[in-house]
Symmetry: C2
Subunit: 462 residues, 2 copies
């Protein structure tokens, strides 16, 4: 157990102003102090409101939402809420109100939210929206949610390659005031093909008469609309850029993916991986109801249940030996536990190694061999230790050897299976994160128990 | 098991140009084709080189590094490498060469790397560095690695509040060409106190004569030098900003933390959490040697070993019952397995919920109660299922009840302990991520086994 030397801030309630604010808001809600509430809400950043929102009951969420008068604030809140909370909040909201709020939001967020509504309501909303915006939203809806096209914003500065720096600055001053990320100026040819990139800083330092195609950087990185969002995120992270342009199959510039979305992707993918590794689905269940949460977790435990029943039949086969040497049963937990734990270690290392790009499936041989070696070393160490306990207790060399040897085998097999399974899963395009879940640990349990009884039966001649 | 519908790109080798490049480079290294290698290396982005680096043997890493002629490329590579790889690479590099390469790097990265060298060598390097730079580096070294001060760059644009927009643009054109992130212009008073923020875009759209303090945004978010890096990262993510200014205790602007570092923090913290949850330390062990890796993993397995030995003594206490009803042993794996798996689910949900801010330790009551409810429901379901198997096999109502009841208790206790432990750990300022490791699962094992035998002994009257 490591005692962390730094104080992790989220656990220190007094120190976090958001938590203090949450307390104030809860108190005011209890007192129905609506005037004070409205004042506080108006002064609070929507991002902070969304944090507070998560800790309220559904009815308090509705009451607090009604206190917000700023449409933009409502919009930010919409895009920050988990799907369940969002749907309960908008359930009895009129289409007009929704259109008003969505009208304030970035197009990519609108497209995400539209997808959460039932088809009919979504169509209704799109129909009542500003034509230009609804076209942009529908444009984004064509792409898969988790691709570059699905997460891009159609909101960027594109300048023609043959205008001058001075003309470019003027056009930015006049036309592009609404653009969220004005740091990269993308340069396109007459057919909207992406040909280069520049920056406002570059424009202000060059001669005002210089045409853009003489000053731009032509070595511009772009991604295709159908690239998986995780890979887009990795590219933005790898090259330390603030946005990456997205092009369609014809190399026409159609949008950009910005770094704030990249952060969200990494955080979401990490949560997904962690939940999958523990066998709790992909989505965060704790914000869901007890029944929903139960339904998501039930099937993952099924693997473990089936595995346990198989282990039961395996042990049943050795009932004869057991009835003669009952104490054999006492070692089942330690043998299963050691195998299970080292298997989880190996699987986790491989899963995270694959996710962070530290190794890829082509390294399978090396990685599995290394894990097997570690398993053998650790297995020998703990085999000797646990064997000694058996010797102390029963002074039967046969039993000592059987227990020790079983630990070695169980731990080596576990390290092997634990590292091999995620690699194989990755090869078959199954997410390797599921390999650390009940499925693999349970197979290790069965193998461990089987070998233990087999070895004991042979060595003790029973 | 979920079959992922999207093809995760990192597993598709042919499609990734970095992987293709890695193959080419490995081939050229085998053939000692140094001229071609140099050409390819010169054309490759340093970030891509660092990916390839990880997949090479140590001697190939040295040979490839020697092919790099561009100092800046060497610098980027330095900052991307894991500590072990970096130290092996620089082991026999002269101080002069090191100073030359470090001279090309951002100050925050240099400060990080300096900390990896032995004290003497670090002092040597600092002495030979350019005075201004070494002072900046030493300034950063004063702060703890994992705080805002430790990760900030002293590289930002600060403008006096009383100059005009036109003067500001001129100063940016003349003085601040080297600044990495020229998007935020921080405005300071005569004593370098942070008083506002503006942007290049704002400067080009206002009247050139407007003094900065009339156009700036005064509502500027900043963090203190000693804030934990994880909290800094959360602020940048929450407010969707590209950089956050860092101030010292006297509110003097001393640096900025940029969004690219924030991405690295999130990825690193996610990896740390995942590894801790599996009981494999905090650092990624797979890039270390077999022995180092073994040493890190050994103590984490100790908890599981001790737990297993305790379970052994617990079962030993019931040897009498076991010798009369040997088949009791056959249910040990399924009861332990079900408890262990639901315990991991609960602990994971709570750990991730705390890390992402979905709930905090004040929600302990609600969260634990909910987990307990889920545990009871799932326990009843699987208790009935596994009890039925017992009934089918042995047709002994006492045994059926004992097995079924034990599953219910084991799963409820596991959900309770699994959700309670990380909450308590967080309260005691121990990282909750360790709660999913061997420590908690092992205690659940012991409790499960004990209750099982106790119930069986009573119900079967043995």
């Amino acid at each position: 157990m490591t005692r962390s030397t730094k104080l992790k801030p989220e656990y220190i309630l007094q120190a976090d102003p958001a938590k203090r604010l949450a307390d104030t808001i809860k108190r005011l809600l209890r007192r129905n102090a609506y005037t004070s509430l409205k004042k506080i809400v108006a002064k609070t950043h929507a991002a902070d409101l969304s944090v507070i929102f998560h800790s309220l009951t559904i009815s308090d969420q509705h009451r607090l939402f009604d206190m917000i008068s700023d449409l933009e604030q409502k919009g930010v809140l919409f895009s920050e809420l988990d799907e369940d909370v969002f749907l309960s909040l908008v359930a009895d909201m009129s289409v007009d109100t929704l259109v008003e709020i969505l009208g304030q939001m970035p197009t990519d967020d609108v497209a995400d939210l539209i997808g959460r509504f039932p088809q009919e309501k979504a169509d209704d909303i799109l129909k009542r929206m500003d034509l230009e915006e609804s076209e942009e939203v529908e444009g984004l809806l064509r792409y898969d949610d988790e691709t570059a096209g699905g997460i891009m914003v159609p909101d960027f500065i594109a300048l023609k390659e043959n205008i001058t720096a001075a003309e470019a600055i003027r056009s930015i001053q006049e036309e592009h005031l609404e653009v969220e990320m004005p740091f990269y100026l993308y340069i396109v040819d007459d057919h909207d093909h992406l040909v280069g990139v520049s920056s406002l800083r570059q424009l202000v330092v060059v001669s005002p008469d210089a045409p853009l195609n003489t000053i731009m950087t032509t070595d511009v990185l772009s991604v295709k609309t159908d690239m998986d969002q995780e890979e887009v995120a990795k590219i933005v992270a790898r090259y330390d850029i603030l946005a990456v342009p997205v092009v369609d199959d014809g190399n026409h510039l159609v949008g950009i993916v910005t770094v704030d979305d990249v952060i969200d992707i990494f955080r979401k993918e990490a949560t997904e991986d962690i939940l999958k590794m523990a066998g709790v689905g992909e989505e965060f269940v704790e914000t869901k109801s007890v029944l929903k949460s139960t339904r998501i977790r039930l099937p993952w435990l099924f693997a473990s249940c089936i595995g346990g029943i198989v282990a039961f039949y395996v042990i049943g086969r050795f009932e004869g030996s057991l009835s003669r040497l009952t104490y054999l049963a006492a070692f089942i937990p330690v043998i299963m536990g050691m195998g299970g734990n080292i298997g989880t270690q190996s699987a986790t290392i491989v899963v995270r190694g694959l996710a962070t790009g530290r190794f890829n499936i082509r390294d399978m041989g090396t990685v599995v061999l290394k894990e097997l070696t570690v398993g053998l070393i650790l297995g020998t160490f703990y085999g000797l230790l646990i064997g000694s306990v058996a010797q102390l207790q029963y002074s039967t060399l046969g039993l000592t050897t059987a227990v020790g040897l079983s630990v070695v085998i169980s731990m080596s097999v576990a390290a092997f299976v634990g590292s091999m399974a995620p690699m194989l899963f990755a090869r078959m395009n199954i997410d390797p994160a599921v390999a650390t879940g009940p499925f693999v640990t349970t197979s290790i349990d069965i193998v461990s128990v089987f070998f233990y009884f087999k070895i004991a039966t042979v060595l003790l001649d029973i």
